[in-house]
Amino acid sequence: MEQMAVYCADVESDRNSLSNVSLQPYHQTGIFQELPSYETVRRRTECPSSKNEQRFSIQDSGNEISNLQFIAEELLLFEDRKQSLRELPVSLTEKRKMREKRKYNSGSLSSWETWKQSQQKLLKRLKEEASHAISWLELWKGSLGEIEGRYGNGIQSYFTFLRFLVFLNLFAFLLVGGFVLLPSIYISKLELNQTVAEQPQNTSECFKYDPYLHGLVPFYAYILDLFSGTGFMEDSYMFYGYYTFDGKQIFNYNLPLAYLLTMALYFLFCLCWILKRIVNGFKQECMQEASYSTRHSAKIFSHWDFCIKAPMMATLKQQSIVNDLKIDLQEQIYRRKKAERSTKDKIFLYSIRAVLNLFIMLLLTGAFYCIYQATKSSQQFQQKGNGSGKIYFLFEFFMEYLPPIVISVSNILLPFLFWIIVRYEEYPPNTEINLILIRSVFLRLSNLSMLVFSLWQHITCSDGKKEDCEACGYNIHYQCWETKIGQEMYKLMLFDFLACIGVTFCVELPRKFVAEHGPIWLTKVLKKQQFLVAENVLDIVDGQTIVWIGMFYSPLLPLLNIVKYFITFYVKKHSLYNYCRPGKRLFRPSSLMIFFQLILLFGLVVAIVPIIVNVTLVHPSIPCGPFQQHKTAWEIIPKLVSTLPSEAQIFLKYITSEPFILLLITVLCTVLTILASLVQTNRSTITQLKQHLILAGKDKRYLVKQLSTHFQQPSVGPFQDSFSESVKDVNSRA
């Protein structure tokens, strides 16, 4: 037969041709080209590329027939699934052909159906136009695209995260503004002529509160007031103390309740949103178990950013990919070495690690003690130093800002020490970096909590001087203690912002000059500042935690934060373009986003705990604030509940009672057990299916090879003999 003659690639009619062909990789044989799984890739071109000379001419004729077959199959498929034309991975001309075929096949439709189809198309078009119009409103879209093009996805994720935080703060401001600020302004306008006749004139100590300085005021007092939130700033909408209005008489608006509920709702909303984003990210990450991970291949296949335009950045990306691959291979070697370690070595290593961890704990304790002392002396100075004109401006400024300065110093110094220490602990490179990051996160959040804790100690007199708290329920020197906390947070935020700008222009700019124009020995040591994504993200999460802690006591803080983040975006962008070089370490944007959301969640928890403690346990200030007349701020809620109808009261009582909560926990545990056992079953199914695939693949290879050796037989000669011989040959080799 002609076809058989055409099939002979190497025309050697002796039996050695069998051995030649069976050594050929099976996916280059003729039979393989015709397998359905291969065809799904190859046929999706208009003209099959015939670079391989070993392709047989039956291929081309076969392709004609099978092309039409393929189109018919695809038509069925995509009419079944109602797939749109644009989702087919073929060229435009092929799509047009498919569309013609579809129209031809579907015949004449009733006018109702054609009308329906055209309406659907119109709707789709409208939706696209609408989404396109909305995307114009997206904040910083152009800048983000530019950064992505120049520096890749890793660095862009920092700026995307910054934008997310801006939206969080915007939402906070809108909530607080709508439910607390606007009613307060309205009430205050109405109450201008009314005196607060309700409150009896009480001359006891607890009612003495005056935010202003009296007597001779030094000239710099106003500037100091601006930076530390005292004086004219304290007596404004900025801080908690100003919200003494109660709209109950005027139009039945319970302002204290609105204050409390708005804050609670906002924190709940933040919690839900962040958790949702973490869960979405985890779904991808946690699916990988050790035996089933596709880390390396996923890296190779998806790591190149196709959106990079700058050649310099492309070279940098290539370098970082090389680094990353080498680190991965090093880790493999490390793991092999680890398995070979002797017991004596292990004990030695673990004892070193224990000692170093202990040392780190000591460092942290030292840092906490410094912060505690700094807060104490700052508070003492502020209590004494009112109105005494002989203290200099700079010194006063320094003492007010002592806690933020100490915190910043510890945030810079200690991670540097961590970096030195971690070298001696002998972890694989990726674990080292992660460990430093975790320790830095812990350090920063604990510093903040330490500050809040020491303030709390002062306010509730837990540090010894019990007699100060007897009169009013809180420290008598701190009339309006909530405003005090708000002021400390305001100072922290301001200092953070000034430090960011200061570092950019006073450290990075000179460094750039030195690196570019300095002597050679200096440039080798001191290169341009690296743009480290992780450290920058820790900075902005820090800032956000400060705002969350301070939000309850200073409702306008989110608005200031929005301004701060806006300016930070442009400053960082300017610094990235001009003063920094991109970091060499390769990041996967998806794992980065999870990391950011996780530390944001920790920050939120660190912020919520002090607020909950203060709201439920500490006596609110008597001369100022919306909760003046209550014993604790939380008291409002039970009072509200008692005014509800009795059915609602019984219902709420039941929900918060123990039996109900126990029942809820039991149900949740049951659901969790069911899901866990489902996971187990799926895992064993996956293993079985993988085995099945391997066997099926082996079968296919065997059959393909046997068929191709069979067809390679010359047509001359007894068919049966050569066939049995070839079968024997293949059997002996298998």
Binding site: C47, F301, I308, K309, Q318
Partner: protein
């Protein structure tokens, strides 16, 4: 480029919008760039092909080590020389756009990475791929041992039926577990 939009009729625009993932602005922007590359404004621009080398000078493709493969994959020229027509260009932008589905992107990525066009990713293809990723110069490339180890790792992870190559479904399986792929397989004009 005042009257350039006049060569693209409304029906053609809406047809392109229906058949690709591009918006009207994207198609017009692509048209402007295409005519700039042609350096003249012709009525039958749809039948003209731009040579591969000229096309690879586009700023979006210049820094991309896969630019030649991209041209070859999306080109529908009969001569197989990688020359790109306007519709091929639209195909390319559609596959690389934000709204393209994961299936389309993984399909085209597979074809781009398949350097010898045989329908599977064998060891040679993977070697070429890694060399493109690490840069062409010898000091940035991996050593022979490292390369072999890396390819062995990849095949261990991705080759499910253990035939020594990665075919399309195995590739799509790896891609579906890599959430970065969609955001990195993107070209925006």
């Amino acid at each position: 480029m005042g009257g350039s939009a006049s060569h693209l009729s409304k029906e053609q625009l809406s047809e392109y919008q229906e058949l690709t993932f591009l918006t009207k602005q994207d198609i017009l922007h692509a048209y402007r760039i295409f005519t700039e590359l042609l350096s003249k404004d012709l009525v039958d621009f749809q039948n003209i092909r731009i040579a591969k080398e000229r096309f690879c000078e586009l700023p979006e493709l210049k820094a991309n080590p896969f630019r030649e493969r991209i041209c070859l994959v999306f080109s529908t020229a009969i001569e197989k020389d990688g020359s790109v027509s306007f519709e091929d260009f639209l195909d390319m932008l559609s596959a690389f756009s934000d709204s393209a589905t994961l299936e389309i992107k993984s399909h085209y990525a597979f074809r781009i990475f398949d350097f010898d066009d045989d329908g599977t990713l064998d060891k040679e293809d993977l070697k070429n791929l890694v060399n493109c990723l690490t840069g062409g110069t010898s000091d940035t490339q991996l050593s022979e041992a490292e390369m072999n180890q890396l390819i062995q790792n990849i095949l261990e992870e991705a080759d499910i039926d253990k035939d020594g190559t990665v075919n399309l479904s195995e590739f799509q399986h790896v891609i579906s577990r890599s959430p970065d792929f969609v955001s990195s397989f993107k070209i925006v004009l």
